[in-house]
């Protein structure tokens, strides 16, 4: 890949640059300004230096929600990536059923985030929802509104329901790109199904899976609407993730200064993780 060098290409990128810069750079600079001050209103504000950062970094509630966030995003990846690959392997490769299952798989992805929350809010209730009713009649005491573990598991199950399809569709398109000759060679060698997966399919899936891991990690790391609708972050703080803690602080309590500092720290974590993933991705492409 030897692309010609031309700085004129900047003119083609300029509209995107201006558009995104308007919504990204100005707010980011403003957040930095907020984070350094104690703000009461536009004219009454005091410079406090790095005080808010110190407070946020030592705030145990926020540390808890950071840990909770990492556990949540980790479990999301651990469940959705293998399950997604599995579903993709089970899908018919071509024909009518392939298209039908593709369409059904894509369905949850198109449900608005708050409706996802609503669907599971209804589905999980013991009085009006099938899931909650079924669990309770099996003798399992399940109530996502009162029991932190149930709430946590419901949020996780909801995310699996909502997003595993994305991984499955990514892997499916990766699998379809493998030429038939590979499979024929494998069947001549009498390779086991596991060997076919390990040495033919998985290597081919690597680049799409990295996209999947990146998107899933990032989106679960900023999850807000679904748990907000389902549990409102409770019971207690058991399902309060970072975005919700931040929104509560910024919009609910209007603590602009600390919320600014929190935003910057949050953003830096995102920047670090997405840089690591992105570097891993581009380097696996080059090899």
């Amino acid at each position: 890949m030897n692309k010609p060098h031309s700085n004129k290409a900047w003119f083609l990128v300029l509209p995107v640059f201006i558009l995104v810069a308007f919504s990204a750079i100005v707010p980011l600079m403003t957040v930095v300004n907020y984070s350094l001050q104690d703000i009461f209103d536009v004219s009454t504000r005091y410079f406090v230096g790095t005080e808010w950062y110190r407070e946020i970094l030592n705030n145990s509630r926020l540390q808890d929600s950071l840990v909770r966030q990492f556990i949540f995003s980790g479990s999301v990846l651990l469940i959705e990536i293998p399950l997604g690959i599995g579903v993709a392997l089970m899908m018919p490769k071509s024909g009518k059923w392939s298209v039908i299952s593709l369409l059904i798989l894509a369905l949850p992805l198109l449900v608005p985030l708050n409706v996802v929350g609503t669907i599971w809010q209804i589905f999980g209730r013991a009085d009006i929802g099938l899931f909650g009713w079924a669990l309770n009649s099996l003798g399992i005491d399940y109530n996502y509104a009162a029991n932190p573990i149930d709430a946590w598991l419901t949020v996780l199950l909801m995310d699996v329901w909502h997003w595993t399809s994305l991984v499955a569709l990514l892997s499916f398109s990766g699998l379809r790109a493998i030429p038939d000759a590979y499979y024929q060679a494998a069947s001549i060698d009498r390779a086991s199904a596991w060997a076919v997966f390990r040495y033919i399919q998985l290597p081919k899936l690597k680049s799409v899976l990295l996209i999947g891991v990146l998107l899933r990690f990032m989106d679960s790391f900023m999850i807000y609407t679904e748990p907000f609708v389902l549990t409102g972050g409770g019971p207690g703080n058991s399902t309060t993730f970072l975005s919700q803690a931040l929104t509560k602080m910024a919009v609910g309590q209007f603590d602009i200064g600390p919320a600014g500092a929190f935003s910057i720290i949050y953003f830096l974590i995102i920047l670090l993780v997405s840089w690591l993933f992105y570097t891993a991705m581009t380097h696996s492409d080059n090899k």
Binding site: K3, P4, H5, S6, N7, K8, A9, L12, V13, P15, V16, L19, V20, S23, V26, P27, T30, G86, V87, L89, M90, V99, L102, L103, L105, L107, P108, L109, L110, V111, P112, L113, N114, V115, T118, I119, I122, F123, I128, L130, W133, W161, L166, L170, S173, R176, A177, A193, S207, V208, I211, Y224, L242, L246, A250, G260, S263, Y266, F267, I270
Partner: protein, 266 residues
Amino acid sequence: MNKKKTIGLSVYILFLLLPLYWLLMMSFKSNQEILGTLTFWPNEFTFANYMTIFTDASWYMGYINSIYYVSLNMVITLLVALPAAYAFSRFRFIGDKHLFFWLLTNRMSPPAVFLLPFFQLYSSVGLFDTHIGVALAHCLFNVPLAVWILEGFMSGVPREIDETAYIDGYSFPKFFTKIFIPLISSGIGVTAFFCFMFSWVELLLARTLTSVSAKPIAAVMTRTVSASGIDWGVLAAAGVLTILPGVLVIWFVRNHVAKGFALGRV
């Protein structure tokens, strides 16, 4: 082996469809029935919940607002992302890799981080509570994604085609609209689908940047919670109606979805 696969897939699809079925069926029930007994099929089939939505302007305007800003967002995103993706796929220029990564970070950063200044910024330039305002805000995460997908599709088109066209005397704009865009039409369809999807499902920004005249359906739905409890039937009907546009859109791109989900990279 094949039988096992079919069973496995069927179980998974059942898991996907059951909650949706429950929602759909609930939307045809009256509130007494919903709260009274647990039934798999409505005893009394009613369209009352849907009638509530279709006859109340504050309800159906929510849908119109959402569709309006989502369409605007799709048009803006494609218009700016097409040339940019072409630049990324065909040329190297100063800062190209860093620019690309910077664009992606905007897809990755949580809207919650920018919430407060967003509100201030859009109010100060007069975009608060307008459709174009929400559309522009959604460009923040849709444009980077669109550039990413389109760049993948465009890299699949051999560069010889560009060169031949220039030798044949095509100017850049003519080549781009007459030859290149038809070549990647499936990629454009898939990109439009993704823009639709992420703009349609987003709530936090859409809700914060609107109050009355551009209020999205997602925000309207919170109205079902009133003093007398939650109006489950209407809530379910509203939920069903938010899924329908997505079903329509995905039907149009069904043949390209698989490739599109790999962002054109396989």
